[in-house]
Symmetry: C2
Subunit: 79 residues, 2 copies
């Protein structure tokens, strides 16, 4: 996970590589499931062979402990 | 659809608004279905209440007639 700053807002971002579009979209859906479960939602960019997930906390316009927890949960999906 | 240029590559982009994350993700999956069916894949940004779809043709680093067809098919999903 890389800390990035977008419009002054600190975020955590990680790119996940896949073999095709379908696998990237399946991953996007799994990230969506944990997002719904935790009621905390990332931005997910889905494209051919790649999904890019970005976590941050809108309410504080930055990073909260929960974002690091969600990043770890995101990694768990692929284990 | 708005023509955008990213790194010198012309693309077609449109933002679709939804009531929550789940509906945005459902739309993302429907766009994924037409992408797989046509073997032409967009970039889709999924976030709470919004999905942003971008079509372009990697092989020519720009826009092909097919991208306009896919943009129209994307709109059809919501009709």
């Amino acid at each position: 996970w890389t800390p990035v700053t977008d419009d002054g807002v600190m975020m955590l971002r990680r790119e996940f590589k896949f073999k095709n579009f379908r696998q990237a979209l399946e991953f996007t859906n799994k990230v969506g499931e944990i997002a719904e479960a935790e009621k905390h939602h990332p931005e997910i960019i889905t494209e051919w062979g790649k999904a890019t997930v970005t976590w941050w906390t809108h309410a504080i316009n930055g990073l909260h402990k929960n974002d690091f927890v969600m990043a770890a949960k995101t990694d768990e999906i692929l284990k």
